[in-house]
Each structure stands twice: as C-alpha cells, then as structure tokens.
Amino acid sequence: MEFDSSLLSLLTTPTSNGEEIFFAYRKEVRERPPDEITWYRDRGDKGIAKSLWKDKNIKQWLLIGNDMEVHKIWDSLLSTKRYTITWDDVEVDFSLPELDMVPETQEDNFRKIAGIKVINPIPVLYRRQDYPAQVDFLIDEKSNCSFIQGYLYHPSISPMAPAGLLPEDSLFNYLKDKVVAVYQPRGFYYDLRETSGSEGNTIVEGFIQHTKVFRETHLVEIRTLDGAKTLGRSSIDITSGKWQVPIGPKEGQGQFLIVNRSDEAITSGEKYYLIGNINITPNIVDTVFTDLYGRRVYLTGEHHGNKYEPIESIRWDASVHPDSNQAEIELSDRITHVLLSLGSDVVINDPFLLGDILEKDGQVKFTSQSQIIFVNALMNAMARGIIKNITLVGYWAKARRFVAGDQKIFLDNYKMLAKFLQSIFAKVPKAKLESFKLVLSNQTFHDRYWISGGLGTQVCYQVTNSTNGPFEQNELSIRQQNELDSFKERTKISRRIQEGTVINLI
C-alpha cells in the first residue's frame, strides 16, 4: 500500500487579478493519496477558500494529491510564479513574487552523514526579496501568526487546517525571514537514548513511528560517529516500533542508520548527539498570581532569579492587533519585559508620574486604561521576584494639570497604590518591594526615561508616551539609549532625585 500523499497549503490575500500567495507550504505526509488532486471542502473546492481572518482578507487554500502530482503543481508555481485552477465557471489565479532558494547552511548539516539520505530532511526554503507588505501585521506580531496557526485561540481568527501542519512559531519565523514558500519532504519520527544495561554495558534504545510493512522490512544499525565501526544492530518490534542495541561502553553520540533487510542497503540515517547531565528540579507551586487578562504567574516558580537582557527597542501599534483586548495584552507584556530588563531598581522618570489615581470606597481607582495596563505589567514584573525598588520621578507643576485633587490627596492615593501592590504579594517574600519612592523634581522636564537605578545593569530606555497615555494614543515606542545618551540622562535624573522632594510610599 502506498502512502505517498502531499499536502499543499496556500495562504493568500486578494489582488485585482486573483490571489497573491504570501505563504505556500508543501508537505509530504504518510497518507494514502486520493485518485486525483483534491481540494478540501471550504478550503478551495469549487473556488471557495476558507477566510481565516476576515478583516485582513487572509484565506487558506488546501489540497491533497499524490507526491508526483503535487510536485508538478509546486514546480510550475515556483517556475512560472503563477497557477490557475478552474472549477466549472470559477477560475482562480494564484501568483507568487520572485523567489530565491535558500542555500543549506552548515548548521543544517550537523545531522547529515555523507552519501546517506537523512531521515528527516530539512525543509527547502524559498525567499522573496522584500517583505510581503500586505501582511506586515503578521511580521510585526508573533501572536497574530500563532492565531492563524491555531496555537493560540482568537474568536475572530480561524486556524489553518490541518491542525499542527506547521511547527509552532514557524510561520512568524519564516515571514520575518522573507521566506514565503517551504517544501517539507517526508520523514518519520524516531527517538533514541542511552541506558545502562544489567551487565554494566550501555544500551541504545528507541522507537520508530512508521508503518507495519516498514518495521518488518527494515533494521536499525548503530555506528560510531565517524561511521568507522558498527556497534550493533536490531530488528524493530512490529507492534510497538521499539528497538534495542547493546553497544558496550557509553558513547553519547553516533550514527543511527535504517537498513533494508533484503539487500542490506542503508536507506537513511542521521548522526545523533545525546545531552547528558539533565537535572529536573520539581517546581512546587504554592501561590499563583493571575493578571488582569487571566494569565497565571507561579510566584515561587522558575522565573525567580532569571536575568532579563536589555532590549534594543520595542514598538507597539494598536492598529496591528486583531482586537483591543489582544492589543492590551501585547502592550502589557512589552512593558513587563522592559521593566524586568531594568533589574532590581527601576526608576520611572516621567513629568506626569503615573497620572492621577483616585480613591473609591478605600480602593484604588485608576483613571485610564493605559494606567491599568501599566500597573498590570508592573505586577507581572513584580511577580517574577526581580524588582525590589521603584522610584517615580515627576514634576508636580505639570502633573497637577491632570490631577483632580491637591498634592496631599494625590500623594495619599499613590501611597494607597503602593499598599495595594504590596498586599498582592504579601505572602511571597521574594516579590515584595523594599522601597517605593516618589520624587517631585524642583525643575521642569519633559522627556520620559525609564532607567535602572542599581549599580549593576546600566540601562536607559527612552519612552515616547507617559505611562497613562499609550493605549489612548494607540502607539508606544521604547528605545534603549546609547552609552553617551544613557550617561547624560542618568546624570540628569540623578540630579533631579538628589535635589527633589522624596516621598516614601511604603
């Protein structure tokens, strides 16, 4: 029985002449092929494609056929950059831009044994010369690709079919690299490991996921990494797919080969490298912080003690997100990352501070959605147990323009916010703040900078909007400053802190 089907998935956006393909994926699968090329219902059949994202006009077309026929379509598409299909009175023209095949890199070759076909061939990639402008919202936003791939759920976006067709994050990574056509040749899943045998020797054992016929007709052979010496052979269990090869001393690396029983020919094989000394520490969860969007952070989890590297820049644009809720989540996560990269001492230098905060029935009442997003981001950062000291530097004469009460009420409400933050993490000593200060500068300033106040990391970010503004203004840009600018700004901010009025909020 032959199992030589190929799937071809086309992601398109409409043009005046038909459909422009922004991502084509051909995958050889282990399935019995239909008699002729078959378009899936509602994914191309009769010219009706699946609309994945209505607002952005993204459609998926999907067909299955035997390897040779799909190969012909693929070849024709790549060589002529066009493909036309007709159903009765419906005709659809697909087009592709000019593409170059991406050469195999050395890194891709580390598994390859000279002269032997690899078990899981690396995909063949085709790259366009410029970014597909019509889907810039996919290149800008990883989550949008995950919604389309189906690894994340969004109510307004339908996932591609079949589920799991593309590996997680791969669509984003391909598009970001201008790769718009990918051919994934057939392989099969296998795994292997080294264990200690009862006689003190080492056993290489593993599993092959393949057909019964394949298991019957093939053997596994293990060789040394250079291929000079055969360490052993094993048949494959027809029912379970398992095999075992005793090899003597521990090797940790070698060649894994598939041998045809009838003619002893090696049909495929790869080099393998085993990673030793993996320690697994149990993670005991005793407290969970759930953020505004329902995401859970384990407060005694693996985040504690992690270092977050400074980032070059972050740009957030509300218009590229599918909806306002997703835009909020993305904005919050970006701010969290920036705050974490500042290390233990975070200094927020913003003439308007965090904006006005009100009190209602003894509780903190926020005055803007941006403020809520910022505080959510701050709580997410605090939950990681890295931030110890927060200093807000502002200028009262400017801040008061947007404050309902007088300075005493303003400061009292900020103290209430500080208590609120402390109370959330009251049971988690690692996440508690050691200090939370507000400094009123005695000189005016305008620009916003977030800096690391500690002695270790010297990071300085320039921020375009006040913390209570980006969501309402639909954009935010955060850029790390170069060494000279960073030094200048840090000097200025230090002076503001030294000469200003310091208020301890906790």
């Binding site: 000189q443 005016t444 305008h446 620009d447």
Partner: protein, 190 residues
C-alpha cells in the same frame, strides 16, 4: 522686570542645561499655559525643522530648547504660529503654499504648529529682527521679548523681558500683518 541669564554663572556652576530650564520656567511663568491658548512666535533664527520637528519626531523633546518650550506650552487645543527667516524646506509633507504645518504629535498634545518663512526686505522695506512670543487666550494677552535668540542659548547670555499689555497688542498687530503678507506673497517666490 525680566531675567538676565548669565552664561558664565551657569558655566561655573557646571550645569549648562539649567539655563535652558530656567529660561523655559520663566517664559512659562509669564505665558501661563492653559487649554486653548494661541501662541505667536517670531524669531528670525528659529529653525523649525532642526529645532522643533526633528526632536519631536525622534521623541527627544528636551534636546532643543524650542521643542522643549513648545512641549511645555502645548496644552489641549493649543495652536502656534511661527514666523522665521530660516529654511522651511525640510518640513515633512510640506504644503505648496504658506503657512506650512509641522506634523502633529502627542508629545506636544497634538498642538497645531503653523510656520511662515519671511524674506527680508520684501515687506514694507523692513527687516525682521525682533524675537518675541505672544499669547492670546482665555486669560487675555501676554508676551515676552527675548534677546538674543534662544537658538544657541547654551553658549551665550540671554535676557527675557515681559511685555506690557499695550506692547503685546502692538506686537500682535505687527505679527499679524507680517503673517498675512507671508501668506499673500507666498514666500515672495515668482
């Protein structure tokens, strides 16, 4: 009345940028920015492209005293009219005729900033020399005279003198005449 900012005293104190902040603090104390104010700025040496447009575009408002000052004055519904002698060709999406609008930015509260370029000796045989900022709004008229230009404040002495109410009215009339002439004559280009 007014302030005289001695360069040497800031130089010796070691914080030159304090002079910028002091100048801005004084000017804003006279012009008291509130919502809806209109500001009229005349300065032959004010380069709106380098000193206002780019610092705002690059989100480094404090890098230039002019962008810093505009940001301090810009409240909701604020508008600025600027007459300068400096080139205006670098304005993004510059319109075909004056006044030319600078890009709107949330960093200056989305204030409208319109610019006219004055060409000396073309209008009433007078040269443009004075530098002033006038305010008209719900709190009435106010204004300051600046001598010399704020453009390179970091390297020189600067005096800032508040105008009396009748002087502001006179200056505003002169500004309006010159503004209208700039628009009517379209930069005096043939």
């Amino acid at each position: 009345m007014g302030v005289y900012l001695h360069h040497v005293s800031y130089y010796l104190r070691g914080a030159i940028e304090d002079k910028t902040v002091d100048a801005i603090n004084y000017i804003t104390s006279i012009l008291s920015p509130i919502d809806g104010n209109k500001y009229y700025i005349m300065d032959p040496y004010l380069n709106v492209v380098d000193d206002i447009q780019y610092p705002i575009k690059e989100s480094k408002v404090e890098n230039s005293i002019w962008s810093f000052l505009i940001a301090e004055l810009a409240m909701p519904d604020t508008a600025f009219k600027i007459i300068t002698r400096e080139p205006v060709d670098g304005i993004f999406e510059k319109g075909p005729h004056p006044p030319y609008s600078l890009p709107v930015s949330p960093l200056i509260n989305n204030a409208k900033v319109d610019v006219c370029k004055y060409v000396d000796k073309k209008y009433c045989d007078t040269g443009m020399h004075d530098r002033f900022i006038l305010r008209d709004g719900n709190e009435g008229l106010a204004g300051v005279h600046i001598g010399p230009s704020l453009a390179d404040i970091k390297d020189k002495d600067v005096s800032i003198t508040p105008y009396s109410a009748p002087t502001v009215a006179t200056a505003l009339k002169a500004f309006s005449d010159m503004w209208n002439a700039c628009i009517t004559n379209k930069e005096w280009k043939k």
